[in-house]
């Protein structure tokens, strides 16, 4: 009883003592002033337009002035930019950053697979991605940390998942993030599992039918609106109506088209129906340049590249038997196609196609290395930068607001140590709509040594069922962290065999037993002193926010 009482008091004390401190740990800088001046800095206003030792002034979310000999307003918070480089924030042409995947519900079996309800058939063009935006999605922070400030985001789903939006990668609420709502109608050639359409040919046929029905419905609507008397009222159909802005060419269709044949199929639909087309996440499109150009399609190339496995070259004295020769030839062909993948962006540049990039299927940590691979394959740094900034802005119709560092544009700004495409370059600050985000560039080893993991941590996971408390006891042996996880809801204490700490990133997983059910959980968190904050992922299920607080040692 005494211990229990003790604990409560401790938790209470901890809360009082540390919650405000946590607030101070937020990395969004204070808002004493909304004016910032980055001084004596190398400014890349847009590819090829560079100002050395210049000043960039940001005021009220916009770029106020940029150049040499710029007066620094007295109220400005000054960031000394000596040896730093400033770029316009990057634009992601197709992604799901910040978009929540709707939970898989257990749904009734469809009796007639030939006539599924449209939403079960992947047909929900009326869905607005804004309903699925989550400002706390950690991908937003990760993508922002490497310089992305804007993204063209799409909902999850099947052949017609819904409407996209262009968002800023920061904001207090979903609406706050949105820059352009309903920017395109998003589509994929993805068939359904067991209901019509189950094949790509079914998807294409259904696409044509829906589009033609929408055209027909729209024209009847117009006839009816002009004179209602004596005419049957048009049926209201939110699926068909969703095509209207596409039919009017007010918005394009954004199609995911990774492979060469996907591109051909999407272009076939486009030429049959005549909509404006954005083709996104192109991965194998080097042979499609002529056709894409002729059709006026706007393209976003995937930032994903096949992994470059370093081969150990054992060419030396090995005997060249027939199998080795044959293998070598096959390897050579793989190399040839690897080069095509890596050289795709350059091929588009050569073909005179203005392109942007898409992060839809790339791991964030691969983006910078992949950009460097593309540059090594022939793309110039300026061309890569253009694809990330002015070209994307232009392709998305945002040139008047984004894409370059010019007065009057939205203050989406990247400040990096060393030029951005340099191997050791690091992004230090990112401004999104004039709000600065400071990023850590401290040596991670130093950080690691400062963190004292050993001891008891109290963990709080926030689940839909409420808060779940547990205690993690961490010990260190032979340089390795281990742990024991216990709590009221855990039937038995769970052993954590290895706790990884890289920089401030904490990661571990263990098997827990809840009411006789075994499940694997994985925790990813960032440590700040005696706290960590992150997510707990339950294998095969959802992930929840989790926080940990170091329990101070008590003197008994």
């Amino acid at each position: 009883m005494e211990t229990f009482y003790h604990k409560i008091t401790v938790v209470f004390l901890v809360l009082i003592a540390f919650v405000p401190a946590w607030g101070q740990e937020e990395r969004e800088l204070g808002s004493v002033s909304r004016t910032y001046a980055i001084t004596n800095v190398t400014i890349i206003q847009s590819p090829g337009r560079q100002v050395d030792g210049g000043t960039l002034v940001i005021k009220d979310g916009l770029i106020k002035s940029v150049g040499k000999n710029i007066a620094v307003p007295p109220e400005a918070i000054i960031i000394k930019g000596d040896s730093l480089f400033v770029y316009a924030g990057f634009i992601d042409g197709l992604s799901r950053v910040g978009v929540v995947k709707p939970r898989e519900e257990i749904r009734e079996k469809i009796k007639d697979p030939g006539n599924p309800p449209p939403d079960r058939a992947g047909i929900s063009p009326y869905v607005d991605v804004r309903n699925f935006l989550n400002t706390a999605d950690k991908n937003i922070e990760e993508l922002r940390a490497i310089g992305f400030t804007t993204a063209h985001v799409v909902p999850y789903g099947g052949m017609l998942p819904g409407q996209s939006a262009i968002i800023s990668l920061a904001g207090k609420s979903a609406d706050d993030m949105v820059l352009v709502p309903v920017s395109s109608l998003y589509s994929e050639l993805t068939p359904n599992e067991r209901v019509y359409p189950v094949t790509v040919i079914g998807v294409m046929a259904k696409w044509r039918e829906l589009y033609r029905q929408a055209v027909q419905a729209k024209s009847y609507e117009a006839v009816y609106a002009s004179n209602r008397s004596g005419l049957e009222p048009p049926a209201t159909n939110r699926i068909l109506v969703s095509f209207n802005p596409v039919i009017d060419k007010r918005i394009p269709v954004l199609f995911k088209a990774e492979k060469f044949l996907d591109i051909q199929r999407v272009l076939a639909l486009q030429s049959d129906l005549g909509f404006s087309l954005l083709a996104g996440d192109i991965k194998e499109g080097w042979d499609a340049t002529t056709k894409l150009k002729a059709s006026g399609t706007k393209v976003f190339l995937s930032l994903d590249l096949p992994e470059d496995k370093k081969k150990d070259d054992k060419k030396s004295e090995e005997k060249k038997d027939t199998i080795t020769v044959e293998k070598d030839q096959l390897e050579k062909r793989k190399d040839e196609f690897m080069a095509k993948h890596v050289g795709q962006a350059f091929a588009y540049q050569q073909a005179g196609i203005s392109f942007g990039f898409a992060t839809l299927s790339v791991k964030t940590r691969d983006i910078q290395p992949n950009l460097r691979r593309m540059i090594k394959a022939g793309l110039t740094e300026d061309q890569a930068l253009a694809a990330l900034t002015i070209n994307s802005a232009q392709l998305l119709g945002l040139s008047d607001r984004l894409g370059s560092l010019d007065p009057g544009k939205i203050a989406n700004v990247i400040i990096s140590e060393r030029p951005y495409f340099h191997e050791k370059s690091k992004v230090k600050y990112v401004f999104v709509e004039g709000v600065p985000y400071k990023l850590d560039s401290k040596d991670s080893k130093k950080e690691e040594s400062k963190i004292q993991l050993e001891g008891d941590w109290s963990l709080t996971a926030t689940t839909p069922q409420g808060k779940s408390e547990s205690t993690l006891n961490i010990t260190k042996t032979e340089g390795k962290y281990k742990g024991k996880l216990s709590g009221n809801q855990l039937t038995e204490t769970a052993e954590v065999n290895e706790i990884k700490l890289e920089g401030r990133k904490l990661n571990f997983s263990c098997l827990i037993n809840v009411q006789g059910q075994q499940m694997k959980i994985t925790i990813d968190a960032t440590v700040e002193g005696d706290f960590f904050k992150g997510t707990v992922q339950v294998e095969g299920a959802d992930s929840f926010p989790v926080e940990g607080k170091k329990v101070p040692k008590l003197n008994r």
């Binding site: 009796k111 189950v198 040919i201 079914g202 039918e209 027909q216 060469f260 062909r333 793989k334």
Partner: protein, 454 residues
């Protein structure tokens, strides 16, 4: 060694980017025209992708490539009236009627099976929708221009549109058996056909009325809703899309003939038709055609009553008959398949060859362009080391539209057009593509539901 490598590289390049039709003189071969007899020691002149001259001692104009066919046999490129190669999707099995889908939307020019078929002397294939539904999707007639990348370049432009229908066990298993949806029986299949055609008739009529009324002054009215499925079926009724109907049993074949009669459909090609020999006179009287296997049966209950004499019996009864593959492996030796009709049925050389050339051409409505060696026809030609109906025959060169697409002497190991740099190197697998019923690809799952194998 280096020179060899260089020549391989050059060869690869030339294979990858062939494009333009060559002008060719095929010298001094035994020309099996199929329609105009056998011409010995005869030259074939190919100009701009067409056969421009046949005769003895033709002098090649300058710039012509000369292929010496002395001691060799020259025949029209083989045509396969039933294949599922060159497409990424075969079966939209989800509903009994899917007339609106079109395999031409999913052409895949990179499938290596297309090159392998070329190596068997094949130049044109009818790549079809599967047989999981009573009324399946539309098919596509393609030429094996292996090496092209744009799927559109595979299409035999101007070839009539075709559509797959299916009778018997496949559509009843998938829908009736798997999902308790009509059709569960052969009667159900007939009902689906008749119902669909009736709906299509009503649909056309409604549009005709609307279009007619619309021109009248002061017209007020609502148009019928656009329906891609019925729109397509209406084209079938108008005769603009040719039916290719998967079938085995005589009773259902006869049923289908009656359905066609009732709806005024004049042209139909039956596929497989294993019991065609029982209704050969009826087929001939209707003018229906038959595309059969040489000797493949017993892979499901409805395919037991079969005979290797089928093609011969149909032929002798005056039915335009072809032998097809329905399979990437069989497709590579259709000339062997045709020759079996000489053992089982004693067909003459010309009749046997017609089964894989001019007859399938007729079934696809392309007999004016391909299927025989005649002046003016497209230069789709195969050159064999011996008579193609001989077991010793080896295909040496295959020409499509005047372009040499296969040459046994220049046949590199790796003919893939696209390579996945991540993939482990493909291992040869002799079981691949030998599943007995490629017609049902993608719909196999539905059997589990039926047979409760899971």
């Amino acid at each position: 060694m280096n020179m060899k490598k260089l020549s391989i590289a050059l060869l690869l390049i030339s294979v990858m980017y062939p494009a333009v039709a060559q002008n060719i003189l095929i010298k001094n071969g035994t020309v099996l025209t199929v329609t105009k007899g056998v011409l010995v020691n005869t030259d074939v002149l190919v100009k701009d992708g067409k056969i421009s001259q046949l005769g003895k001692n033709i002098t090649a104009p300058t710039g012509y490539r000369i292929l010496d066919a002395s001691g060799k046999f020259v025949m029209p490129g083989i045509i396969d009236a039933h294949s599922h190669e060159g497409i990424d999707a075969i079966n939209e099995w989800s509903t009994p009627v899917t007339a609106e889908v079109f395999v031409g939307d999913a052409l895949n020019p990179f499938q290596i099976s297309l090159y392998r078929a070329l190596a068997g002397g094949v130049t044109t294939i009818h790549t079809m929708h599967g047989s999981a539904n009573a009324i399946g999707g539309q098919c596509e007639t393609i030429k094996l221009r292996y090496g092209v990348k744009d799927p559109k370049e595979l299409i035999m432009n101007g070839a009539p549109r075709t559509i797959k229908f299916a009778l018997g066990e496949n559509p009843t298993r998938v829908h009736g058996g798997g999902n308790a949806i009509v059709p569960r029986t052969r009667m159900g299949v007939e009902f689906v056909m008749r119902e669909s055609f009736s709906k299509a008739k009503e649909y056309s009529a409604a549009w005709d009325t609307y279009t007619k009324n619309k021109t009248q002054k002061g017209f007020r009215g609502t148009p019928p809703e656009y329906n891609y499925r019925l729109e397509t079926l209406a084209e079938v009724l108008k005769g603009n899309i040719l039916i290719h109907c998967h079938s085995y049993r005589a009773d259902e074949i006869y049923m289908m003939l009656n359905v066609c009669k009732d709806f005024g459909i004049k042209k139909i090609v039956f596929q497989h038709v294993n019991e065609g020999f029982k209704v050969a006179p009826e087929l001939a009287a209707f003018g229906a055609m038959a595309s059969v296997f040489s000797d493949w049966w017993a892979y499901k209950f409805e395919v037991y009553y079969s005979t290797a004499y089928n093609a011969a019996i149909l032929t002798r009864n005056g039915v335009t008959t072809s032998i097809n593959s329905d399979d990437p492996e069989l497709m590579r030796h259709l000339y062997h398949e045709a020759s079996k009709t000489q053992k089982y049925g004693g067909l003459k050389d010309e009749e046997a060859l017609a089964l894989i050339t001019i007859n399938p051409a007729k079934q696809l409505g392309i007999e004016d362009r391909v299927g025989s060696i005649e002046v003016g026809k497209e230069a789709d030609i195969s050159i064999f080391s011996a008579h193609p109906l001989s077991i010793y025959a080896v295909p040496l060169i295959t020409i499509v539209d005047g372009v040499v697409r296969f040459d046994r002497e220049k046949d590199p190991d790796d003919m893939r057009i696209y390579v996945d740099p991540r993939a482990e190197i493909d291992m040869a697998d002799f079981t691949e593509g030998h599943d007995h019923d490629r017609c049902m690809q993608g719909a196999e799952d539905m059997f589990d539901t039926l047979f409760r194998t899971n």
